[in-house]
């Protein structure tokens, strides 16, 4: 028993999901611990242990409570209902089915909490209003969905039809099928990183630096071992059996598993405690013989690039990790004589991914000398190679077994807990498990890069852009992580989705003593978009051209050359996106302006627009995916899909694509997802690449298997296939032919590989960095309270060119979720190391912050993509903040150049602008 569980262990009776249970534990044990660890009910999730996230919401005597804040002693004698108690006789409840059918569960880690809050509401209000749903579920945070589909799902419960949708004969691509992995998410049976571990696993806790920059020494550990018999081992840098360094890029393995004598950021891992759970969780940090020598930390890119700044990494002169550069035309000369020009400086801060599932998993040595690492990840193959590096094993000796991933957004593209677990398991020869606390997850893992951007742009009198000059410094924190990706991607995108003849973009990723900044939905492009979209509004204003029409004039179209000189041949649908927005734009702008002249003026309304483009996949680098689909002699058809689904839905999308390519329904396919022993490498779930790249590989694999079947049956390309009971029936118009799979000499296997065609960029950044780009435009309608400096969003209209919506429901989910994160970037989110390492000081949007969203899908097909599709994950987020800032400007005349526009900051700008 944990020593803080209160007094002595006693037996407490409570009713859980209708069954009387006796639990022997301390009275101050959290109800979450009782449910998960004593009763095995892991459907109740732990996201923060502080009552902030609501993932652990259960019903206590019929009312929703955070189980993490209920001591066992106060649950005794009462009735507890968890997500596992919602289904009846193995049948999902109407509420659970509604969540599933409406796409209300993406990653699924908040889903149990959402369901329980909704169950509380629906027990009292049969037909709730939107407001009642938002109020009742308002204590549960979701980072994936943007909440709208959750509201829809709850509203739909009273009228949900009974089950029994007949399988459709129509092509699967284009249908909004419910997720393949949805039922376990709504049932609470999906297994996340913290939900499974081998029996007898040791627990691991990292001891982390309280200083941003310091040297340290470790004293004698014997007294610690003597005091805590349950402490089996304290690991230090010297214990790392392989290379004590990992990182994303082959030449940038700069982050240690455990720091060796010096730390570069607050939260860096220094030691790992191994032992029984109670011991490792309760050893006070003061008892650990660490002696610190704090040094002055380098905070911010200005300090890091100052002449007298200390050098943080020996190889990086001036603390510049890397530079990016794109130049086209003669930008210096182009600014003179332009009809309109504008310039400015923009700043953004650290942004935290705030996935609701903190990092968790286990590592287990297997009898054949290999190592299995289980846990949440976006990049199993990259994890495999990093685990191999730090353990000294060969990559083939490591198996990455992804758990369900409770949100990623780029934050789980880096290894974080995996090297610690793997090293500990390798050193001890025993299984080792660990779960990051919320605070630890926030303090230790990567963030969105803070940026300082100086830029200017110029246009002709008719509104055509002439030149754009951009310099961006990106704070990459203590270690390289994905800094080079940001520095490389930004220059390609920094002139926006526009045709600009003269462009120069310089970017730098700069080391500091702050939290490492890595990958976060957009890789620097959202920060750049805030700057270029502000410049578009500036120029439109100066030339007295409507902001939307100004963008329409300049939109990249097929035949136009980008800043890297790439001529877009297909699928450049920005103008069509703007066309889709125009009616709403004009109506909402007029309405806002009318409101502003007819009211007291202390609340002002505005409408703004933001545009974006986003290259799908790696920047000017190879980026292949492979897929394998096997039709076994046992009659089973299985897609071996290495593209991990972190909630966005690729485990459903790949099936739809492969099924249509093969000519069988998705229901015929089973699936193995992201197991490095079984699935070929489908790259990482990032860069909006899975649908485009892995989807294409799934299509080719399906076509390959289909071709084999048609050859066996000697059938033509239009033949219809049917699979049942180990037999494939092939209908080619004539007599049906059959293939008895059991009679084949081997299983049939279709393979697909796709690497999007790109070229390296030359010294001026010219070339073809991406095979295709997503385009989008969004408008935001809002009101500004001039007295408070607060912003209330009324509506977002989003138009996205994604080539082809393979699954429109999942696409909408991505757009909703991206917009929610864009709202956070614009108005709420600013991570301050040491100060916002929790989900109450770090603000993410909740129900009331995400307005109604209207979506227009523009399907300008990409010939390279599967059935014309390209990516949507990141494009969804990028235009939102610029649209919001444009709307604030329309409402008040105030130009926001620092994100987030927190109320006190906006209020200060309003005062400066004379708004009292």
């Amino acid at each position: 028993m944990s020593p803080d569980a209160g007094g002595t262990v006693a037996s407490f009776d409570l009713t859980v999901n209708g069954t009387r249970r006796s639990v022997a534990a301390g009275p101050f044990t959290r109800l979450t611990t009782v449910l998960r660890d004593e009763l095995g009910l892991t459907g109740t999730k732990v996201g923060c242990d502080a009552g902030d996230c609501g993932a652990c919401t259960v019903l206590l005597d019929g009312r929703q409570v955070c189980a993490c804040l209920v001591p066992l002693g106060q649950a005794a004698g009462r009735e507890v209902i968890t997500v596992e108690g919602l289904a009846r006789d193995g049948q999902l409840s109407a509420l659970q089915r509604s969540f599933h059918l409406h796409g209300a569960a993406q990653c699924g880690v908040c889903t149990p909490g959402m369901l329980m809050a909704a169950a509380d509401l629906l027990a009292r209000v049969a037909r709730p209003t939107v407001q009642q749903v938002e109020d009742a579920l308002g204590g549960v945070l979701c980072r994936c969905t943007g909440y709208r589909k959750i509201v829809e799902a709850v509203l739909a419960v009273p009228d949900l039809p009974a089950e029994g949708n007949a399988p459709s004969e129509a092509p699967a691509v284009g249908q909004g099928l419910a997720r393949r992995d949805g039922p376990p998410k709504v049932a609470g049976t999906d297994r996340f990183g913290a939900d499974a571990a081998p029996a007898g696993a040791l627990w691991l806790r990292a001891v982390r630096s309280p200083h941003a920059r310091a040297r340290f020494t470790l004293g004698d550990l014997q007294p610690l071992y003597d005091r805590w018999p349950g402490l089996l081992r304290v690991l230090t840098a010297a214990d790392v059996p392989g290379e004590n360094a990992y990182g994303i890029y082959p030449h940038l393995k700069d982050q240690p598993v455990l720091a060796a004598g010096a730390v570069r950021y607050r939260g860096e891992a220094v030691l790992a405690l191994l032992g029984d759970r109670d011991t490792v969780e309760n050893v006070p940090v003061e008892a650990i013989p660490l002696t610190w020598e704090p040094l002055d930390p380098v905070i911010g890119t200005e300090a890091a690039t100052a002449a007298d700044a200390p050098q943080l990494h020996a190889e990086s002169a001036g603390n510049v990790l890397i530079r990016g550069f794109v130049e086209k035309g003669t930008p210096d000369a182009a600014f003179s004589g332009a009809a309109a020009a504008s310039e400015g400086t923009w700043r953004t801060g650290f942004v935290e991914h705030a996935y609701i599932e903190p990092e968790a998993g286990y590592a287990e040595p297997t009898p054949d000398g290999r190592l299995t690492v289980y846990g949440c990840t976006q990049a199993p193959y990259m994890d495999r190679d990093e685990v191999a590096r730090v353990t000294g094993l060969q990559p083939e000796q490591v198996r990455i077994l992804p758990s369900a991933c409770g949100g990623g957004f780029g934050g789980k593209l880096d290894v974080a807990i995996q090297p610690l677990l793997a090293v500990a398991a390798q050193v001890t020869g025993r299984p080792v498990r660990g779960v990051f606390s919320r605070t630890e997850s926030m303090a230790a893992t990567t963030k969105r890069h803070p940026s300082v951007i100086r830029a200017r742009a110029a246009a002709e009198a008719d509104g055509r852009l002439r030149a754009l000059d951009f310099e961006g410094d990106f704070n990459t924190g203590a270690y390289a992580s994905w800094g080079p990706t940001v520095a490389g991607r930004v220059p390609v995108h920094a002139s926006g989705p526009y045709c600009v003849p003269h462009v120069r973009v310089r970017s730098r990723a700069i080391y500091t003593n702050e939290t490492p900044a890595g990958a976060f939905r957009g890789f620097g492009v959202p920060q750049a978009a805030i700057a270029h979209e502000c410049l578009m509004d500036d120029l439109a204003e100066r030339l007295a051209i409507d902001p939307l029409e100004f963008r329409h004039i300049n939109a990249l179209r097929p035949g136009d050359a980008t800043a890297t000189g790439q001529v877009l041949e297909h699928s450049a649908g920005l103008a069509a996106c703007l066309d889709a927005l125009r009616p709403q734009w004009q109506a909402l702008r007029a309405k806002a302006e009318a409101f502003n002249v007819t009211t007291d003026g202390r609340t002002r309304r505005g409408v703004g627009v933001g545009c974006m483009w986003y290259g799908c996949g790696n920047t000017a680098l190879a980026n292949p995916s492979e897929m394998r689909v096997v039709l076994g002699r046992d009659g089973r058809l299985t897609l071996y899909n290495g593209a991990v689904d972190i909630g966005q839905g690729s485990a459903t999308v790949m099936l739809q694509i492969c099924a249509d390519a093969l000519g069988l329904p998705p229901a015929a396919l089973e699936q193995v997802v992201g197991d490095t022993d079984l699935t070929p490498d489908a790259g990482k779930t990032s860069a909006s690449r899975q649908t485009f790249v892995s989807g294409k590989a799934a299509q080719i694999a399906g076509e390959d298997l289909r071709a084999q079947l048609l050859r066996l049956a000697n059938a033509g390309p239009e033949a219809k296939l049917r699979l049942a009971d180990g037999v494939v029936e092939v209908d080619d118009g004539g007599p049906t032919r059959t293939i008895e799979l059991a009679r084949l000499s081997a299983d049939l296997e279709g393979r697909g590989r796709f690497d999007p065609p790109t070229t390296p960029l030359d010294e001026k950044g010219q070339g073809v960095p991406y095979a295709t780009y997503g385009f989008a435009a969004q408008l935001a309608a809002l009101s500004v309270d001039l007295d408070l400096g607060t912003v209330k969003l009324h509506r977002i209209v989003a138009a996205h060119d994604l080539g082809k919506a393979v699954n429109p429901m999942l696409v909408e989910g991505q757009i909703h979720g991206g917009i929610a994160q864009g709202i956070g970037l614009a108005l709420m989110e600013e991570y301050l190391p040491g100060r916002t390492e929790n989900l109450h000081d770090y603000l993410i949007p909740s129900f009331g912050d995400v307005p109604e969203i209207e979506i227009h899908l523009v399907e300008d097909a990409e010939p390279l993509g599967p059935f014309g599709a390209k990516g949507i994950g990141e494009p969804a987020l990028v235009p939102t903040a610029p649209a919001i800032f444009g709307a604030i400007r329309h409402a008040t005349g105030v130009v926001v150049r620092q994100a987030p526009a927190l109320p006190h900051r906006l209020r200060a700008l309003l005062r400066e602008a004379g708004h009292g």
């Binding site: 959290r30 408070l788 909740s846």
Partner: protein, 265 residues
């Protein structure tokens, strides 16, 4: 190693005895603050006395021209209570705006005011409505109850039994809430009573306080315009990452006006 004793008395007397017997004891009400505080070792009492088994601490009743709320009554119960809703709707609305539904189903009036978090909502009601706090030993006037940051007039061995809220002629609570926790960055309870006007402010300073200049102005003219020209100093106000002291001072004026407008109906 940290361990403590857990008590769950079923009467007020037993609770008071347990409290008197253990100098380092702490009281557990709804646990929304105490549980995370103790799990983080920010409080390490020798004994924890759980008040949730004491029926007499729970419930709402009318007492003359006042409403009496038991210390262990949850925020959700106050928000839904018919007496509160009909007699002091501003109090019901305040309770309905505390935290989120999970907090409202567990958190209690007594726990809130005894903790005296500078950003809690209830202190604005206690001060703004001129309530009286009844303990196991005495009655404490609102003006004397909140002493400082997380500090009240409660003495060792003393526990809150109930709070008596006089029914005002008109009252309203307006708050600028923290977007995540829904704590008050600034919350203002304005109440007009037979005896004058009270303005109770929470969130702005280390503890809840009355804004007497506003009270005097509103006593003469219970209208938002009456507050024009009253400038609130930022001196001594809270400043943090969510709002500077200057911004809070500004919010006091704005939210007070909005409370007056709401109270006028």
């Amino acid at each position: 190693m940290y361990a403590f004793n857990y008590h769950r008395p079923n009467s007020l007397d037993a609770a008071a005895q347990a409290l008197a017997a253990n100098e380092d004891a702490k009281l557990l009400a709804g646990g929304q603050t105490m549980l995370p505080t103790m799990k983080q070792r920010l409080a390490m009492p020798s004994d924890l006395i759980d008040l949730s088994g004491i029926a007499e601490l729970r419930g709402v009743c009318e007492d003359g021209d006042a409403v009496v709320v038991g210390a262990m009554t949850t925020h959700a119960e106050v928000a839904a209570n018919e007496i509160v809703r009909s007699k002091i709707p501003a109090l019901a609305k305040l309770a309905d705006g505390i935290g989120d539904p999970q907090v409202r189903n567990r958190g209690t009036l007594g726990g809130s005011i005894a903790n005296a978090d500078p950003a809690a909502d209830y202190p604005a009601a206690v001060v703004g409505l001129g309530a009286t706090v009844k303990t196991n030993k005495r009655e404490i006037a609102a003006d004397d109850f909140f002493v400082g940051l997380f500090e009240t007039a409660l003495e060792p061995g003393e526990l809150v039994v109930s709070v008596r809220f006089p029914v005002p002629e008109a009252a309203a609570y307006a708050k600028f809430d923290h977007p995540a926790s829904r704590y008050a960055i600034v919350g203002v309870m304005v109440a007009r009573t037979g005896g004058g006007v009270r303005v109770g402010i929470t969130g702005a300073a280390p503890s809840a306080f009355r804004q007497t200049e506003m009270e005097q102005a509103l006593a003469g003219n219970f209208a938002p315009d009456a507050l024009d020209g009253i400038s609130v100093s930022a001196d001594g106000l809270n400043g943090d990452i969510h709002a500077s002291a200057e911004y809070r001072a500004h919010l006091v004026g704005v939210m007070a006006k909005r409370a007056v407008i709401a109270a006028r109906g």
